[in-house]
C-alpha cells in the first residue's frame, strides 16, 4: 500500500499554521458543512483565505481538509478561528446521540429514499 503523507514530514509547518496550537475542540464534525460569509482579503493568513475561497458553496470539513492536504485537527483549529471572526458559518449534522441510541426514523426514511433514487 502506498500513502502520500499529508505534510506530516514537516511538523514545523503545521505548528506555524496553527500558531503553535495542537488541540482543537470538537465543535466541528467531519461532515459539518462550512459556508464562507465573506471573500478572502489581502493580508489574511493564506490558509484562512484558501478556506474562504473553497467554501463559497457549502463544503464539508473533511473535503476542505483533503483539498488543503491538512490533518483534521489542524482544520478544526483554522475553522474555529474563522468562525470566531464571523467569516464562516457552520451547518452542523444532527447532534451526536447517546451510545446505542438510533438515529430518528424519519431521517433514516429520507436517507433510504435518497439511496433508492440513486
Amino acid at each position: 500500500m502506498t500513502r502520500r503523507p499529508v505534510d506530516i514530514g514537516d511538523p514545523d509547518r503545521l505548528y506555524t499554521i496553527t500558531g503553535g496550537r495542537s488541540r482543537a475542540d470538537d465543535a466541528f464534525d467531519l461532515v459539518t458543512l462550512i459556508v464562507s460569509e465573506s471573500a478572502p482579503r489581502a493580508g489574511m493568513q493564506s490558509e484562512h483565505a484558501r478556506i474562504l475561497d473553497l467554501c463559497r458553496h457549502p463544503t464539508a470539513l473533511v473535503e476542505i481538509a483533503a483539498e488543503m492536504k491538512l490533518p483534521i485537527t489542524v482544520m478544526r483549529i483554522l475553522l474555529g478561528d474563522l468562525l470566531a471572526m464571523g467569516r464562516i458559518s457552520a451547518r452542523h449534522p444532527p447532534p451526536p446521540r447517546p451510545q446505542a441510541a438510533l438515529p430518528d426514523s424519519a431521517l433514516l426514511l429520507e436517507v433510504l429514499h435518497g439511496l433508492r433514487n440513486l
Partner: protein
C-alpha cells in the same frame, strides 16, 4: 486502499447551496478488502484521502515494523459523497480496521448512522476484530462479503456467519464492491436495518 485513489487533482463539484446536513456511514475493513472500491462505485466524487494526527504515547505502534513511537503519527482514510436530496449529503468513509485506528473512532465517527463491515473471506480474522470493536462502540452495522474471483473455496453466507460469530439479527449480504448497484444495495441493507431498529425503539418509548 490507497492504490485505488488517483493522484490527479480532484475536480471540485460543489454541493447545492441548500445542503444543510452531512451524514456519515463508515465502511470498515482490512487493507485490500475493497473499501475504496465500494466508496468509488457509489460516490458522486472521486474518492478523496485525508489524515488525522495521532499523538497518544504508546498507541503509535506500526505493526509492520514493530516500532513503538511517541511522536505524532497519522491515520489516513478515504471518503466519498452522495447527495441524497437538496438538503442531505451522505459521506462514506473507508476506515482501515487496524488497531490504532480505533483510538480515533469517537473523534472521527461519533454520530455515524451506522457501519458496513466489508469482509474478505481470505482474511476473516480482520473482520472479527472490526465487529468486536463496533459492538464495543455500540455502532449498528451490517456485514457485506466482497466476493473475489480467485477465492479458493467459496464459503456460504451461513458458514461465514458462523465463522464470524455473527448474531442472527445482523444482516449479512454478498456484494461486488466494483458494481454500483451492488454497493448501493449494501448501503440500502444498512439503512433498512437501522430504520427497522429505530422503529422498534420508537415503539417502546
Amino acid at each position: 486502499m490507497g492504490s485505488a485513489t488517483s493522484d490527479l487533482p480532484s475536480l471540485r463539484t460543489p454541493l447545492s447551496d441548500a445542503a444543510e446536513a452531512g451524514l456519515k456511514i463508515v465502511i470498515v475493513g482490512g487493507f485490500g478488502v475493497g473499501k475504496t472500491t465500494l466508496v468509488r462505485s457509489v460516490s458522486e466524487i472521486r474518492p478523496l484521502n485525508t489524515e488525522e494526527l495521532m499523538t497518544q504515547a504508546g498507541v503509535g505502534v506500526d505493526e509492520t515494523r514493530q516500532v513503538a513511537t511517541k511522536t505524532t503519527t497519522t491515520v489516513a482514510f478515504d471518503f466519498g459523497r452522495i447527495s441524497l436530496n437538496k438538503r442531505l449529503v451522505l459521506y462514506l468513509f473507508g476506515a482501515p480496521g487496524q488497531e490504532r485506528f480505533w483510538f480515533l473512532w469517537d473523534r472521527l465517527f461519533s454520530g455515524t448512522l451506522g457501519a458496513v463491515v466489508l469482509v474478505d473471506t481470505r482474511r476473516m480474522d480482520e473482520s472479527w476484530y472490526a465487529i468486536d470493536r463496533l459492538e464495543h462502540h455500540k455502532t449498528p452495522f451490517v456485514v457485506a462479503v466482497n466476493r473475489f474471483d480467485d477465492e479458493p473455496d467459496r464459503y456460504s453466507l451461513d458458514e461465514i456467519r458462523q465463522a464470524l460469530c455473527l448474531p442472527a439479527h445482523v444482516p449479512l449480504v454478498d456484494c461486488d464492491a466494483r458494481v454500483r448497484s451492488s454497493g448501493k444495495g449494501v448501503l440500502i441493507t444498512l439503512v433498512d436495518h437501522l430504520y427497522e431498529m429505530a422503529m422498534a425503539q420508537e415503539m417502546t418509548l
